[in-house]
Structures are given as C-alpha cells and as structure tokens.
Symmetry: C2
Subunit: 129 residues, 2 copies
C-alpha cells in the first residue's frame, strides 16, 4: 500500500470536503462548544452552563475530539487546583464562517430565534499590543 492509499483510507466516508467536515463537526453539540469559545468561554464549567445544558459526558467527549482534530488546545491555566482552559486554534477560528452562516440562516428562517452575540465580528483592530 502506498502513502497515497493510506491518505485515501483515512477518509471516513468520501474525499468530499463537506463529508469530511461533517465527520468532525456534524452533530448537534460540537458547534455549540465552538460557538461558546467564540463567545469567550474557556472552561469546562462555562460550557456546561450554556443554555442548551450539554450533558457532561458529551461535553468531555466533544472536547477530546476537538483537541484530537486540532480545533482547540487544552492547557492548564493554574496549577494547584489544576484547572484547564480550552482555546481555539487558527484552524478552529476558521470555523467562524461556518458558524456565521448558520447563525444568519437561523436568524432569517427560524422565527423568534435570536443571537446572543455574533462570532467573527469585523474588528479591524488586532495589531494593538
């Protein structure tokens, strides 16, 4: 088996980028965690307290998968009671467009739904130290 075949084999269902993306984020919870990260949430308990009330075992699983797929990183922000924070990587931040498209579709087509805040705000000021 060649390297190319190895690469092909790792596509779970097909080489279609939509299918591959869905293999990573195609479920009811993953993008809600990403949404929370865009909203500035960082810790396990912050995610747990979001209005959708994600079950704790699902949250633990999704965080693991997001780390495995390079969308977030997990790092301790304090040792003594060791506490972890989860941060979006560049790859994860680029899911902002997916989130934004869903948010806009939802706001337009699901009457009564209302965004608490928008991800990927157009802020042109990031070069400040």
């Amino acid at each position: 088996m060649t390297e190319q075949q190895n690469r092909v084999d790792k596509f779970k269902r097909s080489p279609c980028p939509v299918a591959c993306t869905l293999d990573i984020i195609g479920d009811k919870w993953t993008l809600l965690v990403v949404r929370d990260l865009f909203a500035g949430k960082k810790t396990y308990s912050e995610f747990q307290h979001s209005p959708e009330k994600i079950p704790t075992n699902i949250l633990a699983d999704r965080l693991k998968r997001l780390v495995k797929n390079g969308i977030i990183v997990k790092e301790p922000y304090q040792s003594h009671p060791v506490r972890y924070q989860y941060l979006l990587t560049a790859k994860g931040r680029e899911l902002g467009l997916v989130l934004k498209a869903m948010l806009q579709w939802g706001e337009k087509h699901i009457p009564g739904s209302k965004a608490l805040m928008h991800p990927v705000q157009d802020k042109r000021e990031e070069l400040k130290s």
Copy 2:
C-alpha cells in the same frame, strides 16, 4: 399559556439561532443530501448512489425531515410509475452559504479532500491570483 410562551416552547434547546439550525441540520447526513441537491441530484436513488452510501432508512427519514422543515419539497414528476423528485426551496437554497463555508474549511484543513463541485458558485470572482 400565552402565545409568546408557545413560541418559546417550540425551541428545542434554546433560542440561539445556531442551536436551532443544528436541531434541523446538525447531523452527519442531512447536509450531504442538501449538497447533492445543489449538485443537481433530485431523486431518491440519485441520493442513494452518492459516494457516502447513505443507508436507505436514514435517507427516507432525512428527506421527510427536510420537507417538514421547508427546506425541500417533494413532488411527483411522472405518474404511472409514480416517481418523485425533491427540490430545494428558497429557504433550502440559502443553506448554500453554510455548505460553502464547510466546503472551504474542509478543502483548507483536511489534506487530500477535494470537492467534486462547488455549490453557490460566484460567477464574478477569481480574476486575481
């Protein structure tokens, strides 16, 4: 119970448009059917023959849900052997941006994945390099 409460109650998890959108399209298969519709596929068997090989009971279920949510319509395109076609509504076509965002994210971040075709092709673009 007031009308407002009725409206609130119908949100499955929260009024967040991202969560509401995920309640409709947040699974591994639904958006693949929508992708196929963007690719010009219209019939049950065309969806079945896509490379991901969606199980037939899942396909039947997802088509029902897409109809129920106003994303597609089902109509006979011939009577005698009565045959059905499924067509995107305006609401469904507006999922093109979600699909496009996923496609671009996948192409960029999943090495080897390659789009067979792009939904929502922007006719006016890509003159610069």
